[in-house]
Symmetry: C2
């Protein structure tokens, strides 16, 4: 069995285990229930072993004692049945499709997709298996990688071996939804740089930054999809390559870095699979806005509120971030990564990135 098949078998067994437990509870005259960690910022704890943020001990119990709880367990039972069928038939579907499929589930029909997504997250936590293994896709992904890395992908049309510089178009290799269906064969890279915007990704490709510095370029497309974070994690682990993250210089972009490095609150149960704690933030740093006198916009009220929220976010509880965020609040400014273009189209690849990379000990 391949790792993928083993994971699927394990997932199937654990899904069935949830239903069996309900059966036993009923047989023993108990009320069927499940218990899940509370999913709030206050129930996230740093795990020394894995170096990522995970849910703490606070749990909330859902039982069939109330009509609301019973309906929740009923819906979960239908989803378990649906996923079991997908695994049996080797089919897949989007989260949106599953929501529509519930139209046929009578009393277990979902009122909104948030609700069905939530049940999927619950099942990920209960089985400790990510939804990709159950063949559940998000709507969109389409992030890309361009660099000296050779991968093997099993597609419906057989196995493809693709070199992410030599066998791809100028936009690179598009990351599939289930990264665990990929094999990373070999590479000639020194580090991985993850980029928030398509503009900067194209800039580094055009300037030949990948060749000159042995960089594997990954386009995050804003807040990265799970598949993109999983890819970064696997490249880091399997090739032992350093990962740096280059985003805009605003509070929302810092959260993009945080989700790569420490995982997101929403998917804290997947942190070990998705997070790359060793990933370093390269910029745009508030101090860069000052030091390079970058074109900047004034912080909006929402920006200021987001920065202040980050000061209480465990993922930003370091001296580095406290200083940078304090500086930004004091300056009242934010800059985009493409603002470096004000100093010429080559400045970012000839001056800024090399300087930062050696400063960070990557080059």
């Amino acid at each position: 069995m391949t790792i993928k098949e083993e994971m699927e078998a394990l997932g199937r067994a654990r899904l069935m285990g949830i239903a069996e437990r309900w059966y036993d509870q009923l047989v023993e005259g108990q009320i069927p229930s499940i218990s899940l960690p509370t999913r709030t910022k206050h129930n996230i704890e740093y795990d020394d072993a894995s170096e990522v943020w995970k849910y703490g001990d606070r749990e909330s119990v859902r039982s069939a004692q109330t009509a609301k709880g019973a309906s929740h367990l009923l819906k979960m039972a239908y989803v378990i049945g649906f996923l079991k069928q997908q695994l049996a038939e080797n089919r897949s579907s989007t989260l949106r499709e599953m929501y529509y499929i519930s139209e046929g589930w009578k009393g277990a029909k979902f009122g909104a997709q948030d609700e069905s997504n939530r049940v999927v997250e619950d099942l990920e936590i209960l089985t400790d298996i990510q939804r990709e293994i159950y063949h559940l896709r998000p709507e969109e992904d389409g992030a890309s990688i361009f660099g000296p890395i050779r991968i093997r992908e099993k597609t419906r049309r057989g196995v493809q071996e693709i070199h992410c510089q030599d066998n791809v178009g100028e936009t690179g290799y598009q990351i599939p939804n289930n990264v665990d269906a990929l094999e990373f064969l070999d590479h000639d890279a020194k580090f991985v740089i993850a980029l928030e915007t398509g503009g900067m990704y194209a800039r580094l490709i055009e300037n030949g930054f990948d060749e000159e510095y042995g960089a594997a370029l990954v386009h995050l497309k804003g807040q990265p999809a799970r598949s993109t974070r999983r890819l970064l994690k696997r490249i880091h682990e399997e090739f032992g390559l350093p990962v740096v993250v280059f985003t805009d210089g605003d509070p929302w972009s810092y959260r993009i870095y945080a989700s790569v490095a420490y995982g997101s609150i929403k998917a804290a149960h997947m942190s070990e699979l998705l997070a790359t704690p060793q990933a370093q933030f390269i910029g745009v740093q508030p101090s860069d806005i000052r030091d390079y006198d970058l074109p900047a916009d004034h912080l909006s009220e929402q920006d200021v509120a987001a920065l202040k929220a980050e000061l209480t976010d465990p993922r930003f509880a370091t001296d580095y971030w406290r200083e940078q965020i304090a500086l930004q609040l004091q300056m009242g400014l934010k800059s985009e990564q493409q603002a470096f273009a004000a100093r010429g189209l080559d400045f970012v690849t000839r001056e800024y990135l090399p300087a930062r990379l050696s400063e960070m000990g990557v080059l």
Copy 2:
């Protein structure tokens, strides 16, 4: 010279022509000016020859008589110089980067990116050359194609020949920004189906719809980028393949179809390059919502307003659209393309699409 090089030489000459005309105007003691077609829905006319909607005769003149007009021409002069340099150095940049580069243009600095984008559109109209030829990129593109089509792409690393089924990952071939740098070599397709959502694109790939029906699948990613529309136009013209468009069943999605078939008001000056007048709308039709009893949402006030606006949009001035829009306003409902999943994951590829395609005479 390749077609691309010829276009670039032509573009360069026409850009210079604008500046030369200003020079001559000054020498002759006239006030420098440019005149452009008025860009509103009311100045769009159907062009029988090309079968697309284009700007009519209404023109607005911009002259240096006023400080505002003079500053506009100054900025345009700087952009012309910048594009001339990009062509000379074979460099490219994003619209965003050009906006930032104007930081160094003193009095010609743009106040916002809308303004610099607008000047680029003006230059496209004045030179009748699209910005891609001047190496100006948008921020993002990343739409994809999956199907029996073989293309040749010239990249920084040499020429790649790619079969869009056999040499790509499961997400297909990512469409580059400048489609005119591609050659379409040969194909084994019967038609092209353009899809609004990534969910439906993945559904058709998983269900093997491309193989079973000889379909080339194009993911529009919502309102399609110019590169995606250019690709559809070229495949239709060069391979003589029918193009059908499959979107959600709401007024915003009908505009996606309209921009593929008739061009957009914003880019009416590019209609001949971007629009595929023979493209047919496959669905989701309001009558489908009724006939298939699809899961639907109620129309919002904005939806109703948008539908009514479409009744006065020349691009929707056909009996077919009047009937469908009238029916939708009467039902007060809209459905997404993935709503077909309520009838099972195969319904859309086994029942709906084949029925519609033969109805439309494509199959």
